[in-house]
Amino acid sequence: MGEIPILQIGPLLLVTIQTELHDRLAEQLQEDILQRVRETEAEGVLIDITALEMVDSFISRVLSETAQMVKVMGARMVLVGLQPEVTMALLELGLKLTGIETQLDIDSGIRRLGYHLAAVDEEVPGLPGAGERGHGTG
């Protein structure tokens, strides 16, 4: 496994890229995502690139390929967190993120994949009730 964590949230996988992506790391991440989709039988993969300072042709190609591979495996990938300046530079470079579904943020990405965060009704041991807490996963 590479150094970018892949978190499982129910039927979804969440990947938040917080580190500078060099080529090998991007390829390793692609492999890890496919492996985790297989292991967890995930329905969707959310890739959050809020922290990426730029997306070049290499990263764009790896992301497009990953989306395609995830689709072939029967799941869906949604890319979230594209910053305005990153988007501008990406399009000026001539890239179109072909075949990649995008959403503004993690929340809308989760909804795009058919889920949403909801409070649980029943008491959870050790946690305050749904009314006091206001939100939760469900």
Partner: protein, 131 residues
């Protein structure tokens, strides 16, 4: 002048960081910093991909009006580009899907100069001026 030698994938990241640090100290806008970082990544990768090794030279410059800018030169002694016109053509793409690097970098920067000789190498120079 800053110099980054390029002979591995990690050096592409190093070139990007160097360009980012310089554009930060020059006071470029967030959008221009991102354009510079993106173009640097493409041009540094071209060196690694096609010439295996080379270097980036980065420096602050001024024109006759005193306007400040960042000049980045990407220099290699690799195989050279036989047909620059074709390499600059938007529709032209090599087998592995790369090929957007040169025309794309030209769009991202304010000035773009390329010289290449087969068997001798390639020099790409780009400039971004401070607005």
């Amino acid at each position: 002048m800053e110099r980054v030698d390029i002979h591995s994938e990690e050096d592409i990241v190093r070139a990007r960081q160097c360009a980012r640090d310089l554009s930060l100290s020059l006071g470029f806008s967030l959008v221009d910093k991102t354009r510079i970082a993106t173009a640097t990544s493409e041009l540094a990768r071209n060196i690694f991909k096609y010439a295996r090794e080379g270097r980036m030279e980065a420096e602050e410059i001024r024109d006759e009006q005193g306007r400040r800018g960042l000049r980045l030169a990407f220099i290699d002694t690799g195989p050279g580009i036989p047909d620059i016109e074709q390499a600059m053509d938007e529709g032209f793409s090599s087998a592995d899907g790369l090929g957007q690097g040169l025309p794309g970098s030209k769009r991202l920067m304010d000035e773009f100069h390329i010289e290449s000789a087969v068997g001798e190498g390639t020099r790409v120079e780009v400039i971004k001026w401070l607005k």
